[in-house]
């Protein structure tokens, strides 16, 4: 043995490696599609159909209640596997993107309404998302959806700038940058 420096270095490196392994991964273990791959840009931007949905307290809301904000509108249900898969990343997105004046609005089309959503939020520790309900599926109908999850990116002037079918990884740096870009209204040039 030449001395202690080598073993100590080996020890430190191994500890570091262990630490890396032990650090909980922030993103989902399973790779979801990236936003840039799944995004369908809506060009020209369109005005969404008039929709309304209920909050957890039973108050009826429309998109007009969020005027001036950028929106990530997500239509989902607890029985929908792909929807359920992206909810945790959507929850983290809501926390990360709130400072930029962007709201994430998941609208559940569960026929059971609030109880289903409440229990789902509790078991999956969804903390940053509001509970928004459309138990009759009117929102899905109004958007003429093919299926769920479908998400719409709505800019600050209230127009749809993008559409995503299926689940994506919402809380990456790239996705947040992209969303911040998408919700800015077009310059009034032409």
């Amino acid at each position: 043995m030449a001395g202690s420096p080598l073993p100590r270095r080996v020890l430190l490196v191994s500890l570091g490696a262990l630490g890396l392994l032990a650090t909980p991964r922030r993103s989902n273990a399973l790779p979801l599609d990236t936003l840039s791959d799944a995004l369908e840009r809506v060009n020209p931007r369109t005005v969404p159909p008039p929709i309304s949905f209920k909050t957890a307290t039973g108050a009826r809301q429309t998109l007009a209640d969020y005027r001036g904000k950028g929106l990530v509108l997500n239509i989902w249900a607890t029985w929908c596997g792909p929807c359920v898969a992206e909810m945790p990343s959507l929850d983290r997105l809501a926390a990360d993107i709130a400072p930029f004046g962007i709201a994430v609005l998941p609208i559940s089309i569960d026929a059971m309404g609030l109880p289903a959503v409440k229990s789902f939020y509790a078991t999956n520790r969804i903390e940053h998302l509001p509970m928004l309900l459309d138990p009759d599926g009117d929102v899905a109908h109004a958007f003429k959806l093919d299926g769920i999850p479908t998400s719409f990116i709505v800019d600050r002037s209230g127009r749809i700038t993008g559409r995503v079918e299926g689940s994506v990884q919402w809380d990456t740096k790239q996705a947040i940058a992209m969303l911040r870009n998408l919700v800015e209204p077009l310059p009034q040039s032409g």
Binding site: T78, A85, I109, G147
Partner: protein, 727 residues
Amino acid sequence: MKAVMTRPRTFSRMRLRRLGLVAMLALSFLLPAPAHAAASGWVGNHHASVRLITAEQATGSAGTVDAGLEFRLAPGWHIYWREPGAAGLPPTISWHGSQNLKQASLSWPAPLRSVTDGLQTYGYAGTVVLPIAAELEHPGAPLRLHATVNYLACRDICVPFHAVLDLSLPAGIAVPGPEAGRIAAAAAHVPGDLAELGLKLIRAEVAPAGAAQSELALVLKGRRARLTHPDLFVEGLPRGAPGPPRLVPGSEGGQVSLVLRGIDAPAAEIAGRTLTFTLTDGPGRAATFSARPIAANPASLPGPLATPLATPLAIPLTPFALAFLGGLLLNVMPCVLPVLALKLMGLVALAGVERRAARRELLASAGGVLAGFAVLASALIGLKAVGASIGWGIQFQEPWFLAAMTMVMVLFAADLWGWITITTPRGLAALAIAGRRRHLGALLTGAFATLLATSCSAPFVGTAVGFALARGPMSILAIFLAMGLGLSLPYLLGAAAPRLIIFLPRPGPWMVRLARLFGVFLLGTALWLLLVLFQVGGTSTALMVGVLAALLLGTLGWRHRLGGRREGLRRIATVAASGLAAAAILAAELGAAGAGTAAPRAEAASAWHPFTQEALAQGLAEGKRVVIDVTAAWCLICQVNAATVLDRAPVAGALAAPDILLLRADWTRPDPAITRYLQSFGRYGVPLDVVYGPASPAGIVLPDLLTSGDVLRALDRAAGMRQAAER
């Protein structure tokens, strides 16, 4: 749920056009087109569509028409089973608007598992038929099926589909249509019962895995219990959808276990709950059955790896220490007490002899103990290898062993009374000649001490034996020898420091009196063994062996009376004695075999009910506290526990509470169910006492040697917070 999709309508219009084309072609060829098809049109889109089919083209005279709901799914798309898993919805059908339909019952073919985005879901892909038995109100009359079907199909998105299907069958001869084969094939995929797979459910167990999770194990048995790629689907869990099961080869021949890990509910919430299991093993092999899992210890569930038969000696030190300590404590357990008499006599006799001789004698006794343990270990290894269920003290379940031990006790008693000479402790001169025989005697004493010692467990012994028997031959041998070392420690200490023996009183006439007394003790042991034999082998067997033992004693007494005078008669007596001993063993074995099952233990007046897993599960389901006492007539510790704790105030009073169910498992005779229960705690011997309750569904295991305090505390703990607060 409202329809979300718009595509199916345009698509079905296209199909209609195509159908029209086909119809025109048929007309142009003047083919006799059937008035009614045995299938409705497809309704849906290019992702998923559905139609109604029937096996026959007319209703015929039977009361039932075989029908089916046929789904066609594009690659990647799936629909859900009646239990969808982590997400999803099963199809629902309303028959409102049908005519001449009394009732329609839907069957579910075995599902397939799919894992999407980390979620376990159960369903069907490709083309699938859900068989429907349509019962007619008026057999022989036309039938109109009108089905409103709502179903969810998913791939990367989920689409709720809504389809209205119509199918009319005329009256007439029930000629099988083109769809008959598909319905029959689907019906063949509907799970049957376990017997059809050649399997039997032995038990279902649930054990905690962390605070919020649990593990579930199904132990199955069958002559051809060879599952190749099994999957297991559970209905009735409070939440969560477990992943695929692990297949674990069973400890006994023909057994396999399926273990589900990571169930998102605590074991307490699952124990006693009726769950429905669907086991699949390749196409066409599936069974559905219900079971109520009982709470078990995490350690007792079948492990992820089968225990290899030859485990290397890589055992942690603790089991050795436990085995050693257990062995040491066995010295003062009541089961070894009669042999203690022999030991004491040996030591006292040695007080006068030379140090070297004493040392040899002591070492021989220690060797006897170790040899006894080695023999035990080898026997258990052998039994385990041939797949027999093994345990600590199981030799007491064998009539021949009990008979042999009875005879040995009689012989030892005769020896102590000086009627015969097994050892010849008569001074130094004799030692030189009889040395070998003396050592043989000491060795035998040691070995018998071992055999008798196994009739009771001591603290630590249960744990150590449980550890050993669950492992390979080398581990069993090593642990048993460690225990033997513990049991023989007093001898070894004596051998190391023979001076200790000098402190014993010097030999004298008192020794003869003491020897007589100890002889009586040994006869008492013989009587006790006969009593056990009475319970193991039946009355006639016990009587026979008892008479033979008395005859043996009589013969030996007579032989002693003859003294050195009549050599011939003495020889005859010796032969007769040997014959009697052999006859007793034979009689016990034959008698017990003839008796079949002996009379059960008389426990009519007792508050204890016979133990079964079902009784335990039911007691728990009723919210009761359940006390399990696993005992055996030959287990002295068990008798001590009953006499000093269980049947006495204050415990007896506490056990009389109306919410307490008392179950006694009598292991006096071999009982696989009880052996399994013992093994579920990693135990291979009695006593075992466990207290279950609302707050302890997995059971609280009491120490081997009970104290009133232990039992009362466990009862309180099992009752849970609510009752504890009331006190």
